[in-house]
Symmetry: C2
DNA sequence: CTCTCAATTGACTTTTACGTAAATGCCATG
DNA sequence: CATGGCATTTACGTAAAAGTCAATTGAGAG
């Protein structure tokens, strides 16, 4: 496992701009270490970026992504906090399950749409 | 089946503002008929709004939603257009399948996170 | 040391998706 | 008829998430 990644390496890997990665740093989503002023991203930062991109593709806002990332971290030590955390996780999961339903419905409708197109194509093919 | 819905009925049903529905009209996503200046939404408009909301929950932009809605419509009559449409639909489906993978991964990680919390809770419970 | 090139910082701009306010229309009800 | 309750239009505002640009800076090659 590599120890450090440069910012441009990661911009290439994830197809984002340096501006974006710095923005994520400003937002506290990643904390690359510094050698002088140069950012050195560790594997853990890289993994976080992967999770951020996933969140983005799913349409989560930066704040929501921040929340989700919080959940991946070490569980808190206090019982109240733990219960709160569990409740939040359950909420997010329900949210994701809703997205999954939306997704399946949309896929189903697109299947239908494609079928209509293919049928129409067959009709046209037959009439030629 | 109801013939018409008022704008406020729909704002309540979908929990959006009138501004939003008018915005969707400006964007050409719905075309309610008019009685005088008053908008009358038909069942088809209502169905479109449902699809729009689904798209939004999945993180699609207005433009992407517009594209998807295009796909649900009557297939075009010309062969070239049909083939193009089919290709586009396939692209969207691939896009959705990616989202599904993202979603499953995120759900899996949240499962893990919750488990960690519960374990931690058990430890604390035992030590008390 | 100088040159160069990538990296950084900070400021300003842009796009998307609405929110909000003001002024006004339409109409049923007391 | 005036009052309340939706509706409409026009216009300006705004938050999120970067994009863009300019001015520096630092580190390594020669």
């Amino acid at each position: 496992m590599r120890e450090y990644y440069s910012i441009t390496e990661l911009t290439r890997e994830f197809d984002v701009s340096t501006r974006t990665l710095r923005f994520y740093e400003d937002e506290g989503l990643v904390q690359p270490v510094r050698r002088g002023r140069t950012r050195l991203f560790r594997p853990s930062d890289r993994h976080l970026i992967r999770q951020i991109m996933r969140g983005k593709r799913l349409g989560f806002s930066i704040n929501e992504i921040r929340e989700i990332i919080q959940m991946y971290k070490e569980p808190p030590g206090e019982i109240g906090q733990l219960n709160l955390m569990i409740r939040r996780i359950e909420e997010k999961r329900e949210n994701l399950r809703q997205k999954r339903r939306d997704l399946e419905e949309t896929l189903a409708e697109l299947d239908q749409a494609e079928e209509s197109c293919v049928e129409r194509l067959v009709e046209l093919g037959v009439n030629t």
